[in-house]
């Protein structure tokens, strides 16, 4: 029996989206939520805290989503960490076939109320067949 998802790092440069997502996961989903507004800050959080899953915005100033993903994979401590993309560019990142190293792509806008259960499902799938 796999333990449920408990800690999530949410990375987005839009403070309003970050606020909505963290509120939904924390208050409705009961998860522990860490937030970062860009890639480099996110890598710092990963070093300090034990994170189960990363929710990563694709387009960000400075270090963007794909660059951040690359850095996560390059670090042996986080190389197998499940990463989920969030993007408004649904044409570029199809939901059906997520890019390599990405567990899933969540298209913006999404429903924050059901977000926790969606992430729990992805967490379970990840452990059933680790990529």
């Amino acid at each position: 029996m796999i333990r449920p998802l408990t800690t999530v790092l949410c990375v987005d440069d839009d403070p309003d989206i970050l606020a909505v997502v963290s509120l939904a996961l924390r208050s409705l989903g009961g998860l522990e939520v860490h937030v970062a507004s860009e890639g480099r800050t996110a890598l710092g959080v990963l070093e300090r805290a034990a994170i189960d899953m990363v929710l990563l915005d694709v387009m960000m100033p400075g270090m963007d989503g794909p660059e951040t993903l690359q850095a996560i994979r390059a670090n042996p401590a986080t190389s197998t960490l499940p990463v989920v993309f969030m993007t408004a560019r649904v044409q570029l990142y199809g939901q059906a076939n997520p890019p390599a190293g990405v567990l899933a792509v969540i298209a913006k806008p999404f429903d924050p109320v059901s977000l926790t259960s969606r992430l729990q499902r992805l967490w379970a799938e990840f452990h059933a067949s680790p990529a």
Binding site: D13, D14, D16, L23, M60, P61, D64, R89, K108, V113
Partner: protein, 578 residues
């Protein structure tokens, strides 16, 4: 013959003629042949006529009527050189003369009704007779008939060289006994008119007969039609569209310059007759080979074929696209046209692509505020704010901010469309530039103060502009908002006004980080943002709106950027004369 001889001859002839039975005598005297005859008039009196009718050597036929008294005749013969004939039958001679007169009248009426001009010259090159048509064509004075004219009208060959008097066909016929058969000459008539005449001339015993056909109208019509044809040829050659005439066998009969490359046939190639087209293989829009070309389809079906798109790889390897049509002619030939629309096609495709990108970017720009708006609303609906006013307030603020962002985005898109589409109406009036600047500075001041940024309007100037103040405020407001956004607390933003020639330049200078070099070329394009996330606020339409507005105001926008000194964004407007 001496004087005595002449007198004797005359006496002999008179004696002969005095006989009641002799009415006509033909004698030869030296070179001259004389016919003397008398005619009984209606009152039974006799009237003698003498006429020089020819020269020796010329054919002269006078019938010998009745018998002369041999003694008298011999007597006469003894006195003249030669008596050729004498006639006693005056009635018959008169009848012959009448008949001749009738023939002559008939001939004259035929001559007069001929549309061809006919002229009769005698051996002295005197105009003996001519018909009305000749008078009309040559502009000859009828009075000239019977007396020596002052030569032919000025005549020219088709190449423009003048004919000498001796080259005029009537002269050649009279003096050279030379035939002329249908020579085209141009004549300047005495009234100054130029006529194109087809001349024939024949030597006859009496001199020469000249016939003239006036081809002026025909010649002018032909020249006009040739001119017309040349004009059309020039027009067709000037066409950007290729035009080809295919013969019934599908060979190229004629083509214009624009059709040369696509057909692989030059205009010079068809000068000696139709040639086979030598076009490279064509493909359709899906790049599949085409088996039947439009002109072949038109020939087979007998129906016009229009709007067929064909691609042909040119010698340099590039694909060129052609729009083709073909129309069958009733005689089985086909006229085909082809237009190279490669540049139009690629421009259209580029426009489509740009539109797709715009839609895609726009939808992305809308999804971001929609995510927070819809998300915050969903959380409120799920009861997340219940019993927690601060949390409710936070979520409502997110909704408000997101809705504002969406509204601004929609307004910007509409504004940009209206300005670039020429849909804005400007309300120009004369203003001091400094006033426009001051208002813009005052408008941004509260926001700048919150951020701790000082915004200053530079030195006053009295320059005037004739412009729409609201639109200038929009451009300056945009520059100022960007400048404040790029600034940090303690930075300064300054707006300076300078006069450069016939233009007034308003420049907004900040002390921010400057525009990243990679981003500079597309700074004024739609949705351009150095920061792709939109984290700084706008959707990247602001500067493209400024550019479109400046254009509408007959001005210009631009910028200079330096990583340390910051950026300068400027707007120039035509100065209003003071």
């Amino acid at each position: 013959m001496n004087a005595e001889g002449a007198r004797r001859l005359e006496r002999a002839v008179r004696r002969l003629a005095a006989q009641a039975s002799v009415s006509a005598v033909v004698v030869r005297r030296g070179d001259d042949v004389l016919l003397d005859h008398r005619i009984r008039e209606a009152d039974a009196s006799y009237h003698w006529l003498e006429r020089d009718i020819g020269r020796s050597g010329a054919t002269l036929s006078v019938q010998h009527h009745g018998a002369l008294d041999p003694g008298e005749l011999n007597d006469a013969i003894a006195w003249c050189d030669d008596v050729l004939a004498a006639s006693a039958d005056v009635q018959e001679l008169a009848a012959a003369r009448d008949e001749a007169a009738k023939q002559e009248a008939l001939l004259r009426s035929v001559l007069m009704t001929l549309t061809d001009g006919v002229l009769l010259y005698d051996r002295e090159m005197q105009l003996v007779e001519c018909n009305e048509s000749a008078v009309r064509m040559l502009g000859v004075d009828r009075g000239e008939i019977g007396r020596a004219g002052d030569g032919p009208p000025r005549a020219y060959r088709p190449d423009g060289t003048a004919l000498s008097r001796e080259e005029w066909p009537a002269y050649r016929a009279v003096w050279g006994r030379e035939w002329t058969n249908g020579e085209l000459l141009q004549f300047r008539r005495r009234d100054g008119q130029l006529r194109w005449l087809l001349i024939s001339a024949a030597p006859v015993s009496a001199g020469a007969v000249v016939s003239i056909a006036d081809l002026t109208e025909f010649h002018e019509a032909r020249a006009a039609s040739e001119d017309h044809l040349r004009t059309w040829q020039a027009l067709v050659d000037a066409l950007h569209e290729g035009v080809v005439l295919f013969d019934v066998q599908g060979r190229v009969e004629q083509l214009n310059a624009a059709a040369e490359e696509v057909l692989g046939v030059r205009q010079a190639d068809v000068r000696d007759g139709p040639v086979e087209p030598n076009a490279p293989p064509a493909v359709d829009e899906q790049l599949r080979p085409v088996s039947e070309l439009p002109f072949q389809a038109a020939r087979r079906s007998g129906r016009p074929v229009t709007g067929v798109v064909l691609g042909i790889r040119n010698r340099r390897g590039g694909m060129r696209w052609y729009l083709n049509s073909a129309v069958p002619l009733p005689d089985g030939r086909v006229v085909a046209s082809t237009m190279d629309f490669t540049s139009v096609k690629s421009a259209t495709e580029e426009m489509e692509q740009r539109k797709d990108e715009f839609i895609s970017t726009l939808s992305h720009e809308m999804r971001t505020p929609l995510t927070s708006l819809a998300g915050a609303l969903a959380l409120l609906q799920a009861g997340l704010g219940e019993g927690n006013p601060a949390q409710t307030d936070g979520l409502v603020k997110i909704c408000t901010r997101s809705a504002t962002r969406l509204t601004r985005l929609v307004n910007d898109v509409l504004d940009l469309e209206r300005i670039t589409g020429g849909g804005i109406s400007l309300k120009p009036s004369v203003h001091r530039v400094h006033d426009l600047v001051r208002h813009a500075v005052e408008a941004i001041a509260p926001a700048a103060r919150i951020k701790g940024v000082a915004v200053l309007a530079g030195k006053e100037s009295d320059d005037l502009v004739l412009t729409d103040p609201d639109r200038v405020a929009q451009v300056l407001g945009n520059f100022l908002a960007n400048a404040v956004q790029q600034s940090e607390a303690g930075n300064r933003v300054e707006v300076t006004t300078t006069r450069v020639g016939n233009e007034v330049r308003m420049a907004v200078r900040d002390e921010g980080p400057g525009v990243p070099p990679a981003f500079r070329p597309r700074l004024f394009t739609r949705f351009a943002q150095a920061d792709p996330s939109g984290a700084r606020g706008g959707a990247g339409l602001g500067l493209s709106i400024c550019k479109a507005l400046a254009l509408a105001l007959s001005g210009e926008v631009g910028f200079e950027s330096h990583p340390v000194r910051g950026s300068v964004f400027w707007l120039t407007l035509p100065a209003y004369p003071t």
